[in-house]
């Protein structure tokens, strides 16, 4: 009974939050042992795999989102494109931010060998990347990182599910 109750409470919080919430926030609100909560949360992640929900994990925070396999249906319902087109430059820049975050614009430009201000603006407006701080360096340049939206956009549950950089042979 208690377990069921805990699961129900976590579900309610995930739903009303509508944004990524941390294990700590859940634990503090419910006032239960963090190990128990983590266990229930992991159970929910599994359980949702054959439902219409999915739990997306980013930076130890959890977001209740729609199932990947219903993507086309949801896009139709929202009257939106399934995916807005991202240019090859934007995708290239996104990949750099994914694997090198937090990273400054100058650092991205030195990898790509070309100006990135416009693509960065596109990725910001799309919510795929965000400012995550300032680098302790002259001029204190902005540092960019990825968002949970990047994960929902690509349709993966967590960053670890993305292709691994180390596996690439050059």
């Amino acid at each position: 009974m208690k377990q069921k109750n805990l699961k129900s409470q976590i579900e309610s919080l995930l739903l009303v939050a509508g944004k990524p919430i941390s294990l700590k926030e859940i634990t503090n609100t419910i006032g239960e042992n963090v190990v128990e909560i983590q266990k229930e949360l992991n159970g929910l992640i599994e359980e949702y795999r054959d439902r219409g929900f999915r739990i997306i994990k980013k930076d130890e925070k959890y977001l209740l989102a729609s199932a990947q396999e219903n993507a086309e249906l949801v896009a139709k319902f929202l009257n939106e494109e399934l995916r807005y087109e991202l240019s090859a430059s934007a995708l290239e820049t996104l990949a750099i931010v994914v694997y090198k975050q937090p990273i400054t614009r100058a650092e991205i430009e030195s990898i790509r060998g070309t100006d990135c201000s416009r693509v960065l603006r596109v990725l910001m407006i799309r919510g795929l990347i965000e400012e995550v701080g300032r680098k302790e360096a002259p001029g204190r340049p902005i540092l960019y990182g990825t968002t949970v939206k990047m994960l929902t956009y690509l349709g993966v549950e967590k960053e670890e599910d993305l292709p691994k950089m180390e596996e690439l042979a050059v």
Partner: protein, 229 residues
């Protein structure tokens, strides 16, 4: 993105990578030296109005360093580093190019999540920000709006300062016709950017290649005298 004939490239490194892969070469200094001429002839096809031309020229200058090392083996450590830089940079870039094409494959599956809809409050309340009035909000808005034009202005400036390879070539040809002979220093003394100097040098190389001029330099880093043929 930049269009070169029927292909598009995301930047100079993309073009470089493409040339190396076309020749089935590994990324190393020897292959970079080998494709330098191809690179130089490719960038001449670049639409001269492209604002990213300068980025392509910076890489061109690095390639020229690399090639000149074959002729002049004595280089400063700074120049050595610059060459190694290009090789490392290209290897790194290739990794991300590969990753972004893997991202493309993921996207092609047409599977994605959507965030939950923006919900009205589950508890009905009104919680206004403290001490905020119309004047305050107007100031905040004007500050937000003032950030847009700044971005556009910066781009305009970029476009203005651009000098194309074709234009430079024409200018140098004009000079040769008029005076038969000129010094390299004199033609770049009014250059506004490093890119302009590089482009002038490229134009000069092109003229040598087309056997339009001969050049003379007494010692390293001295002025170059250009003579019409």
């Amino acid at each position: 993105m930049i269009a070169v004939k029927d292909k598009t490239f995301e930047g100079p490194l993309d073009l470089l990578l493409n040339l190396i892969e076309k020749e089935k070469l590994d990324i190393c200094q020897i292959s970079l030296a080998r494709i330098t001429n191809d690179y130089l002839s490719e960038i001449q096809k670049i639409d001269t109005s492209n604002e990213n031309l300068a980025d392509f020229l910076i890489v061109a200058s690095k390639l020229l360093y690399l090639k000149s090392r074959a002729i002049l083996p004595v280089l400063s450590t700074e120049e050595e580093e610059e060459i190694e830089d290009l090789e490392t940079q290209l290897k790194e870039y290739k990794k991300f190019k590969e990753l972004s094409s893997q991202f493309s494959e993921i996207l092609d599956k047409n599977q994605r999540s959507f965030e939950p809809g923006i919900r009205n409050s589950d508890i009905n309340l009104f919680l206004p920000p403290l001490g905020v009035d119309l004047n305050y909000l107007m100031n905040v808005l004007q500050e937000a709006l003032s950030r847009i034009p700044k971005l556009e202005k910066a781009e305009e400036k970029r476009v203005e300062s651009k000098v194309t390879l074709e234009e430079t070539l024409d200018r140098l040809q004009g000079l040769i016709k008029k005076s038969k002979k000129f010094s390299f220093k004199s033609v770049v003394k009014n250059a506004k950017t490093k890119g302009e100097i590089i482009i002038t040098f490229l134009a000069l190389l092109e003229m040598i290649k087309r056997k339009m001029v001969s050049v003379e330099q007494n010692k390293n880093f001295a002025d170059i005298t250009v003579q019409g043929l």
